[in-house]
Symmetry: D2
Subunit: 360 residues, 4 copies
């Protein structure tokens, strides 16, 4: 599944997945199955699943579960039972706060998808291409919390799509105002998630707690690192979120006001060749390019474009003038890959390349 | 299908449908089947269909086609072949300009769904609850064009939903800026319309020619009649339109800036008891109320709310503060009923009640 | 919702719904809202819901919940708390056995949708048009069990559709072999039921425990009442069941072998004018006719035909020769109306007309 | 897209696609993009498209169209304009008869998806694993028709799925009777194909001309080559076909009677290790194994299993006793890959390996 790039084979780093039986947990298992740098050694889940073979404890949702993973015994989400120095967390926010903290305290590097720590001042909320430099917060975090490990979070799935789509514009022109309306896939709600009776042939104009996440996380993602803190980007944001009957892929319609008027051509130029401020060319799962600007009228579309860059790229389209602000555009990204498990893995790759991962 | 209200039975006015074999034409046939004021006498369509029984010339899309309608012979869309004084037009815009003009010239009152005449200065673009007074343009139209009949248009389906949802706010608080993002049902594209391979489990972020219609028609709908002309409402509008895998019902997410700051409570109050400036209580198909404000988090939804008021009411939900402008809200309406055939019929009812219909 | 036919207004019989908060329970509430013979007095559900207003205890799935029903207090599913002589049961089979038995023992007439008692020799499994005479088993039931009340069941939703579709053929020609392949709507699995991630754009070739129900219940439904017992119809049945992404309406493709070869014309004649062996013309919700045979190639279809006869009729189509057996046909019925709540209500109407309901 | 196996790189054989702009034509283009043995040189289509760049003449439906293919000029479907010795035909049956014949006469080897020649006695109808030996009919064909080229057809998409699923049983136990009910994806109808208004949330119990194809083609596919002719397999077949709202993947529910009673275990054994009677291990796109028997209750499913073996394998499940005949089972295959373009390509690979392809 995962392309192999990067340094010549060396011993792989053992990693664990917390919350391995859920939907995002499964995506971690799938994406890590064949990773050149990381070796999936431990699958951790709730007490109910611990001690059982993974293949029985989970209802595997897609493709074929590798045989050795299926027979692997699930362990409890407890630092006493998990030895891997790196843990990917797909835990629900109702338990993530306590468990992820315990792992960080015990020396593990936690790469978390939960919202619990995202907005803490000393916790990096990172998309490598957008704000990989924010990882520097880890030093403060360890100093302040006395942890030997650490926590790095990735953003809400829709916020991730929007941030990648906007970063080329923001870097060059500074975004001041942003209206977003999302159309989000059902896989964003996990499994069993959205009942089919609620969504077949329907749209639900509401996703619990989603709009505030978009309105705050984007300001941190697009914020600037200043010494040991992140200054929030001063963007006024209005978000409206909808669930649509799509399997994978969040769409975001945006209207954007920039610091000064720019033409559509200038905006297009900002996307050309953009790869972010970090050099990620050696990271195995970094998509090239990370953001693809399409010129056809009717793209992006979730079913046709969601797997672009193996689900790690964001596709932008319909870039045009906005009659009130400056620009309008539509963005699409894979919510469970780039917006969740794949995003965490890319964060771990960046840490690894910089030598910031704990040794086994 | 249609509730009976209004004056005691009197002879019904004969009416015809132009473009009767298409999707909107069929909706006309269904809605007129049992109308207390109008009697569907003539079904007109292209040369290809003329002379054939209606039941053979059309691929009937829903419910049961009444037997006498099925055997009725289709006539050509030519004023020489149609005698009904009132003609409802479901013609495609590629032919509507010429044919509708010919009918108006020949003394028929044309109620049109096509875009051709909508923005002409002397042509009423009418939603009875919103701007029924604009029908006064008919006098100018006749004077200027020398027609004995006339043309009254109804708006684009998504514009109709938005206009009804916004009218209570605009009347009281004056809208200055408006961002709309639509999620539109496949029936809006007619039949065969959107191929299933394009839309199953997908979203298409583009509908040909739709955004400019929204951005202009809304200003006319919400504009003010001044002597013999309509002054466009001075609203800056940004529209983005999407197709979603929903059968019927257009959803519109909106952010609104008003002339001055108003609270959500004041906005709610504007909806309470609102029935529009016209008294429509005697019109058989006028919904009561025309706009329903819901307070539950997750409504409106197309599948659950589209038939509210027999498809003639618009449902508004999620009315709340906007972080940048003043208010955010979501609206839903039935695109082929209120947004097309049903809207035309309501316009005809209003004309009839005012005695402005030609006599047979 | 329910048509009014039958005797002139008389005091309505008080009725209760057990399991009122679930999907089928809600359908009962909706169908009983305006019933001419029955008055919905009590809503019973699990201990978790008892004591709460119904509008809070349930997640209402469709249309508008009547205000007085929303504020009605839910009671426990216990004969000590329910006074209505008639109880409609939408209980899950995991609890239905015990609770329904307790109600029958306490003198209530229970109209059950659960599978628990369906195949008991002394329990009527009834579709009025097909085997209304089986209600005579009630006398045996009371004698054997010493109950002052009784239990009448209706069949599995797909079995109901098939039985109605086949009854005209079976009555005249005797069915000997039957192959069924179903395509069943998601509402058949209740709420939350089928996760959208499992069924969007997908088919699931398996419904737990469904095939044995079809293979046994059909033999009882089409069986003959002989003195105080039902002789199973000697039909060899092979059933395969599938879940499809449809909201309401179960489709059943069938191949049928009859006692002797009959032509398609003879088969068509068996459907003409068929209304079943009982005279149901005075029952308020009995559809006329109960089975509709269509001749167009591509019908029935769930979305277009499911509401035929207000969801109480079954639509049959594609009746044609079978290359191996005698006939092939496709049938469609509304699984939560005719196949569940509406079926129970029709059974109660038949009992009521015959004076077999307990008095309040 | 296509795995590389087979002999070491040698000059690739030039191939053309007829009907390259349609849905199946596009699948050919995608599957041939990177083929180790064949080089896609010419794209042919109707007069309307000839002379235009392929990227403009087609509405590309999935993924990214390679740049050099997009700029390639479409030629007319005329042997005078096409030089490649091998032509893959995705032509519609309305024109395939004449055009394919002309190409064969002119010395091209035609691999056809159209139904026109399939049942001709001297035309091979081939699935390599099932009846690759039927290619021997080519000699007769050339002799009888005086063609220097030839025509090899592949079967109807649903017939292909059924034939592969049944071949292991038929080879060992001889099938005598077969009931099939299909649930077919919308891509089987091409593009634009099925209108979304017809199929969203719906099932259509009819596909034009499909049932006779299943009932005849299966007998030829499973028939035995005897000297220079194919003796039809003596199987009585009853087929019912349905369209369901699924993008890709035809499901087939089957009940099977064998020459003598066999147990489910014996049937399972017939699948174990089955790879067909031909050795296809050197063919680049031959899936290994071609038929996968799953034991989980709820598989196969189109969305989860359709890409098994890169869309070239058929997945069988729910193998169990039939209460009337011997066995029941469900099969799934990719209708536009194995059931169309991919099937033709595999046929061409088999011909190539045997040295039966004309030289350039």
């Amino acid at each position: 599944m995962i392309a192999r790039r990067g340094p010549a084979r060396r011993p792989r780093v053992p990693v664990a997945v917390l919350g391995a039986t859920g939907a995002v947990g499964q995506t971690f298992v799938r994406l890590l199955a064949d990773h050149p740098w990381f070796e999936l050694r431990e699958l951790a889940a709730s007490e109910r699943s611990a001690g059982r073979p993974y293949g029985e404890a989970t209802r595997w949702l897609e493709g074929t579960l590798p045989a050795d993973t299926a027979t692997s015994t699930v362990v409890a989400c407890d630092p006493g039972h998990v030895r891997s120095p790196i843990v990917f967390s797909a835990l629900d926010s109702s338990v993530a706060g306590e468990i992820e903290g315990a792992f960080a305290r015990a020396g593990h590097m936690v790469l978390s998808n939960a919202r619990n720590f995202r907005m803490d001042a000393d916790v990096p909320l990172v998309i490598p291409e957008v704000n990989g430099d924010h990882l520097a917060l880890l030093a403060t975090q360890r100093a302040m919390r006395g942890w030997s490990g650490g926590i790095v979070t990735n953003a809400n799935c829709a916020a991730t799509v929007a941030a990648l789509a906007l970063a080329p514009l923001h870097e060059r022109f500074r975004i001041k105002q942003l209206f977003l309306v999302t159309m989000q896939a059902v896989s964003g709600a996990g499994y069993p998630g959205v009942p089919s009776l609620d969504i077949l042939g329907n749209v639900i104009p509401w996703i619990k707690d989603e709009e505030p996440k978009l309105e705050t996380e984007l300001c941190k993602l697009l914020g600037a690192l200043e010494s040991d803190t992140v200054r929030m980007a001063p963007i006024a944001i209005s978000a409206q979120t909808n669930r649509v009957p799509v399997e994978h892929g969040h769409m975001v319609c945006m209207s954007v006001k920039l610091e000064e008027r720019v033409s559509v051509e200038q905006a297009r130029a900002a996307y050309a060749g953009w790869t972010g401020r970090q050099d990620l060319s050696r990271l195995p799962t970094a998509p090239r390019p990370p953001v693809i600007l399409r010129n056809d009228d009717d793209r992006p579309q979730p079913r046709r474009d969601v797997d672009t860059g193996r689900g790690m790229a964001v596709v932008v389209g319909r870039l045009r003038e906005d009659p009130i602000l400056d620009l309008r555009l539509v963005a699409l990204g894979h919510n469970t890959v780039r917006g969740a498990a794949g995003g965490s893995i890319l964060n771990a790759e960046l840490l690894h390349e910089r030598g910031e991962l704990p040794l086994p």
